[in-house]
């Protein structure tokens, strides 16, 4: 299994094995990039000298105007030094496929939770894809299935912050007064404005926040750490694990490299100063709560469906809006209340909304029938 790291100038490249890969981030193309065009070209040349594989990250999302600006930036970069371009915006993907000759690493981390879609992304790129970068919301069973089905390497985040919110708007600087020095600097340079957010929803405290020229980003309060599951990742068929230490002062590179070498994360875990989670690597059950979001008893089930009780007038009548099957004197009905109780009764009196006696009421009409206790408005009415 290979590993890929984000390049920073302070990395001691001699520590890394030759099959290590690096991501180079341009200030204008990458969400958290800090390097200018000149620095990007220099970084790429330096990495190339060491024999590393290099990817240029173009992961921002772009409006039409921004896209055209960024294409101009891209044209200034010495792309021949790069083995691939990493892109998420379909506009960027299309541009690379259409206008450039390099490989593309498809960032499919947002959504893309089905094989049909992933395969179609790959097919669209006409043999140019060198890997797919998959979502941390996928569990190991799914990853394993995908690795067996796809004829391409899969990259997966093994260590780092989990991005949970991305907007182009400047949400942090908006909270600061105009004379705030840091705000002034961050708005004219690419110095990041950083903060932590505490939601009123306890216990969610300490969301890392970053604002820069690409917008505002929020991360999970804990880091994703799967370095103690490298064997599992390998068994799942993950070809490349991504290590993201961009936001750490103490990057623990030596311990990370040792872990990658030995698959023993004990020493690293002891030194790592952040709370961490395994995300959805074991299982993803984020749809199980859906059935609790609404009262399924109020959902009409159409076989024998008549309509809905709109009003009950104790001892006098129940007003029913006929939505499907007509209602006649003598019909035997079943009512399902919002609480889930089932009541049964027979129609022996039927009136229209003028109070005139009728023998039948049809779809779209409002009718009043004899009262029956314990039936409430919103109860659903069916023929027995």
């Amino acid at each position: 299994m290979k590993s890929i790291f984000y390049y920073t100038d302070d990395l001691d490249l001699s520590l890394f094995k030759k099959n290590t890969e690096f991501i180079v981030e341009h200030v204008e193309l990458s969400r958290f990039g800090k390097l200018t065009t000149k620095e990007v070209n220099h970084a790429a040349a330096r990495l190339k000298e060491h024999g590393f594989k290099i990817s240029l990250e173009w992961d921002i999302l772009m409006s039409e105007t921004v896209f055209n600006q960024k294409v101009h930036t891209l044209e200034q970069i010495d792309l021949i030094l790069f083995d691939s371009i990493r892109a998420q915006d379909p506009g960027a993907i299309e541009y690379v496929v259409d206008k450039l000759e390099c490989h593309i690493s498809l960032i499919l981390e947002t959504g893309n939770h089905n094989l049909i879609g992933i395969q179609n992304w790959i097919d669209h790129c006409q043999g140019r894809v060198d890997r797919v970068i998959l979502s941390v919301e996928l569990d190991k069973k799914t990853l394993s299935h995908y690795s067996q089905s796809l004829d391409l390497p899969i990259e997966f985040l093994a260590l780092g912050r989990i991005l949970i919110f991305y907007t182009p708007r400047n949400l942090l600087s908006a909270l600061l007064p105009e004379d705030d020095e840091k705000k002034k600097v961050s708005l004219i340079s690419n110095e990041f404005l950083t903060a932590t957010g505490e939601s009123e929803e306890s216990p969610h405290r300490g969301f890392p926040l970053v604002e820069n020229s690409h917008g505002t980003f929020m991360f999970h309060i804990k880091r994703l750490n799967l370095l103690d599951s490298l064997k599992d990742l390998d068994e799942c068929g993950i070809s490349v694990v991504r290590v993201d230490t961009r936001f750490e002062e103490d990057k623990n590179i030596d311990l990370i490299l040792k872990t990658l070498e030995t698959s023993d994360a004990t020493e690293f875990k002891a030194a790592y100063g952040f709370d961490s989670i395994r995300g959805y690597f074991n299982i993803n059950k984020t749809d199980v709560l859906f059935k609790k979001l609404k009262n399924s008893r109020l959902q009409r089930k159409d076989e024998s469906y008549v309509g809905e009780v709109l009003e009950t007038n104790k001892g006098n009548y129940m007003a029913i809006m006929i939505r499907k099957t007509s209602l006649k004197i003598g019909d035997e009905l079943k009512f399902i209340t919002p609480e889930g109780k089932t009541m049964e009764c027979k129609v022996y009196e039927l009136k229209n909304s003028r109070g005139e006696e009728i023998s039948e009421s049809v779809k779209g009409e409002l009718c009043l029938m004899n009262y029956f206790g314990s039936v409430w408005p919103k109860s659903q009415v069916y023929l027995r």
Binding site: L61, M62, S63, E64, V66, F67, D89, G91, A92, E94, Y95, T110, G111, H113, N114, I116, G117, W121, H124, E137, T142, H145, F165, Y166, T167, P168, R169, N170, L171, L172, L175, L176, K182, L193, T194, G197, E200, E201, F207, M218, T286, D287, V288, L289, F290, L293, K294, L298, Q299, Y305, E311, N313, N316, M321, S353, G355, L366, L368, P377, K378
Partner: protein
Amino acid sequence: MSRFTPELLAPAGSLDKLKVAISYGANAVYLGGLKFGLRSAAENFTEEELIEGVEFAHSKDAKVYVVLNGFLHDKDLDELPKFVKFLDSIKIDAVIVSDLGVIKTVLSNSSIPVHLSTQASCLNTSAAKLWKKMGVERIVVGRETSIAEAGKIKKEAGIEVEMFVHGSMCMAYSGNCTISNFTQGRDSNRGGCAHSCRFEYSIDFDHLDTTEKKSAFFMSSTDLNGIKVLPEYIDAEIDSIKVEGRMKSHLYAGTISKTYSEALNYYKEHGDFLSDSLKNWDNELKKVTHRTYAQANLIDIAGVETIFNEREVSSEHDYVLVGRVIDVNPGDSIIIEVRNAWNSGDELEILPFSGETIIFNSTEFSTLMNEKLTRTKPTSLVKIPFFDNVEINNILRKRVAQ
């Protein structure tokens, strides 16, 4: 002379709201089935309701688009073909999709046109060209797109463009927010969004002392209101203008549909807008519950004014929905399903499907058994005197005491 105007696309959170929106002038509605969409808590439509909804819409020359815009997982796709074939059989007009796997599943199981959901955050011409190659016929552009950019995308990519004109806004790039997934265990991109962006946060800036924490609803967006820039939508030849709000009330569905529809019809007839008319329509739109209105990115890049730094309960509204007409006995009475109580003497307004609002003092109203009332109560049915031009599904509203 018939002039180009965009299609008015309204939300239909339920069968009743579908009828309300179309009756008030929407040219098309979008709605969800029981699965595969992004509003798990909405009423949504059973298959029978879908059939009835499509029949009703087509009888009024309106279109029905069904949202399948969740980021669906493999197991969801296993169930999708059957539903898609059903949708094809009832002749819906399009599906709104955000995931490539869903697009391909729809295309291989039906002949239903595919519209790309805003959830896919399609923001530029290059992306639109890619989606067109994937089989998409219409792009719902991301909310970060300006009208001018959307017009350019349409022309350069040669694809239909739909754009939001009104309603709540995601602050994040749509599809790029997973706060609910990681904090509530609910997949926001499969219908479980917990609206965490509307919560208050205490922000502790790294460069400031912790005593200087800022409390703010910093991720909450103001609502979109594009009525005043309708001329720009028309000039850019945007194919469809879309109103957000499947979870919102009948009053919302009716008021928004009526107002935008009147504005578009006015343009169709006259070829321009009068500033007074735009102002009047804008006033109408203030009568439904809303956060502070702004134009987001429609003209300029959204700035500080587009952050709704207030708690939700303080949403602004001038009027409340008091009821909906559910039966009309010509010359005799109108039956109202009461949603919010009113008292004898209150001034009420009935919104007919077209024409002037009917304003009256409600002094005579009774139960269906003709027992006189002085106050109504929610979920009851009451009888009021008959007025001309009132039809089933008209809505009643009341001004809120200011």
